[in-house]
């Protein structure tokens, strides 16, 4: 289980290789990669700035990965989140889950993403033709997180 908060880009292939290296007991690795889109709602986005809470962010991500590892039989869980200035098409976030079986890997990756959206101290500021604006939290993200409480 490991997390990174960084300005640098990441390579999903290299991240998977690091998770599975020297192991032959992993059957499934699911990854989610989030990218900066050129549209935020109905507005064109030309750039994004990601602010975070140093120290607290790492703790929050570690807790999310630990919760996923407690809930599913994971052999590895990995979260990489970038901060700082980003452009449309850039990778923002990677979540990866490794398990003997595919169902657990899919669910754990989706769980980590849902909690990351609502529980990790990141704030996005988009540059649009009307100027820069802070992205509002989405009700859909709260709902996505809440569904795991019932499971």
């Amino acid at each position: 289980m490991s997390v990174s908060v960084q300005t640098e880009d990441f390579d999903v292939g290299a991240e998977i290789a690091a998770l599975t290296q020297d192991r032959t007991d992993i059957g499934a690795v699911v990854t989610f990669t989030g990218l900066v889109r050129d549209m935020g709602g109905a507005q064109a986005v030309s750039a994004m700035e990601l602010e975070h809470w140093p120290g607290m962010t790492e703790q929050a991500l570690e807790q999310i990965a630990a919760e996923a590892s407690a809930r599913w039989p994971l052999q590895a869980a990995r979260i990489v989140h970038r901060y700082g200035p980003l452009l449309p098409g850039d990778q923002i976030v990677l979540v990866a889950a490794a398990s003997p079986h595919r169902g657990a890997a899919f669910e754990a990756a989706e769980y980590m993403m849902d909690f990351l959206k609502t529980r990790a101290p990141f704030w996005k500021k988009e540059t649009t033709p009307d100027g820069a604006r802070w992205v509002d939290a989405r009700d859909a993200d709260d709902a996505a997180q809440a569904r795991w409480d019932q499971g």
């Binding site: 809470w53 976030v93 959206k117 990141f122 704030w123 509002d136 993200d141």
Partner: protein, 81 residues
């Protein structure tokens, strides 16, 4: 008391962190105290339904006690991922 501000709260208040001398017993008292002190705080804290609070790095709400606390953070809902 160390006070942290993030995102548009940081921008409106013009600081990311400051040391505040206060006897406020709760987060709500601290918000009232800062808002009374300067306009920029009053503007930032005008709609507390849009503001989230952490005391000593634990998410809580505006009614939380500050007794024994050393750090308060104010920020909008998180939008990572």
């Amino acid at each position: 008391m160390k006070v942290l501000y993030f995102a548009w709260l940081r921008e409106r208040i013009g600081l990311n962190t400051e040391q505040v001398e206060t006897q406020a017993a709760t987060v709500a008292d601290l918000v009232a105290e800062l808002s009374a002190r300067e306009e920029r705080y009053a503007v930032a804290f005008a709609d507390m339904s849009a503001v989230r609070v952490a005391v000593d790095q634990t998410m809580t709400d505006i009614s939380a006690s500050l007794v024994g606390a050393s750090e308060v953070a104010f920020f909008p809902p998180m939008t990572g991922g």
